[in-house]
Amino acid sequence: MTLTMGEGDVQMSTLSAGGNHASESTTRGVELKVQEGISKYFFLAAASTSLLVMALIMIFLFREGLAIFGKVNAVSFFFGKAWYPTYDPPEFGILALIVGSVSVTLFSSLVAIPLGVGTALYLSVLAGPTVREYVKAAVELLASLPSVVLGFLGMVVIAPTMQELLDIPTGLNIVSASIVLAIMAIPTITSISEDALYAVPRDNLEASYALGATRWETMSRILVPGALSGIGTAVILGMSRAMGETMVVLMVAGGAAQIPSSLFDSVRPMPASIAAEMGEAPFGGEHYHALFAIGIVLFLMTLVFNLVATYISTRFQQKGASTL
């Protein structure tokens, strides 16, 4: 649609130039229009690249992943508890992996939501300019830490310390993985929540203060409700980040493909399984296809998270002067 319109523009201007090439101003007009047309194409191409890449990834993922269902029935794939992909006969039940992913995601959001939203509230309401500057810089730095560094920290520091302090069998468990994932999700949650809080109209806050409300009342009844859609989006995106994170869960979650019975059990989230096993799974074999099918599950889960985030931000959009 946009493409054909752009073409039309260029053709028309060329025609008018042909009819009146003596006029310098028209030539300049043509040049400008051609320039505009070219830049339009350029940006169109840039924008379509990501669409194209996304489409290719999806085709590739689904083609490789769906092949497993010719060999393994879908019910035993999704609800089977045994993940023994290399035994004879192999068992491809990913329920334990799904439970692993869900448990670390949920527990990490329990840690990350209060910390992330709390930080955002502090930054937007309470902090003075200097403190704000430093805290913001620290949060941004946190976002830029490579996940392998955080994973290493979890593996070498958090896990042994936790095991020592609580005298539990292993420190590589849901709790330690969730703590590290929470550290990674906090910057996402904080920065989006903070934007949402800033988008709440100052008029509303000032009106609240003018009516004699305290800072706490204004914060809890005006500011947070006004920014709720943005905070909801922030939380969902933070969770989606935790769900898809690979390196941390590979290093810290323990890697046991079991359905956990306590928060201190090891689990094997889906990304960890894919990352650990893809390298050695025979190309084109059942195991290979099963790993791609896990990729599809992961993809659909994060897609749902993103759809929910979009839904929240449009459905509960704040009416009035400003929205996120």
Partner: protein, 287 residues
Amino acid sequence: MTGKTPGEKTMKKLLEIGKLIVLSMFIANFSLCSSSAGAGEKISITGSTTALPVAQRLAEDYMERHSEVSISVAGTGSGDGIRAIIDGSADIGNSSRDMKDKEVKLALEKGIKPAKQVIALDCIVPVVNSDNPVTDLKIEQLRGIYNGKIRNWKDVGGNDKPIVTVSRDSSSGTFEVWQEKILYKDKVRPDAQLQASNGAVAQAVSGNKYAIGYLGIGYLNSNLKALKVNGVKASFETTKTKVYPIFRELFMFTRGEPTGPVKAFLDFVKSPKGQKIVREEGFVAIN
């Protein structure tokens, strides 16, 4: 609004893997083509993924010394390596197990008399945290620990503490040895922590006083305590003399006795220079 979501990132990683596969095919192709352009000899090697890293390094080193020879190495699994020798699609088939009777019969039917060369020994050592008082375990005890029947260190002569089993990913060659020599037909207990590399096993065991793990003999370090198995300490000596029980041989199979460039390459593999590479890759040398 969302920017790059983790979902997209995961997909991108998967595509990366796909790209790498395609890229490596291109490179493999290219190196084949470029060699056929010259007057060089070509050797193709395929088979065991356990032997892949060491075979690759041996091939690279050999090609540096003999620029007229071009060697392609692929890792497709031991069964595939043997099949490739029988149907003639490769010159050398790597395998981490001996040929089965069925395979020998099939080869003989096709008029091929496969020859085998042992190129390295893969020796796996059980390890515990250096605080653990246990020093020696029997194979039956190790099996009990890994299939989940033994869950407390006191049952094998240690403290009254739970056992945390650390294992390798079931796709790894190291795990295969463990399966074959320790677990036999049993499945590894589902709560075993599966680690993706020898290094990760070492880290998990040295950081947890209740843990037991296993790794290739080349990866032992001073933070870990290597256990004796059936009273035998793992070493290059005890592995070579086959007194130590947890090891397997890595083979290179050829169609009939090797000749020409293939023989020259295999001689290099078994030479001190080749065996030095074998040791550097974490295996036990044959001489």
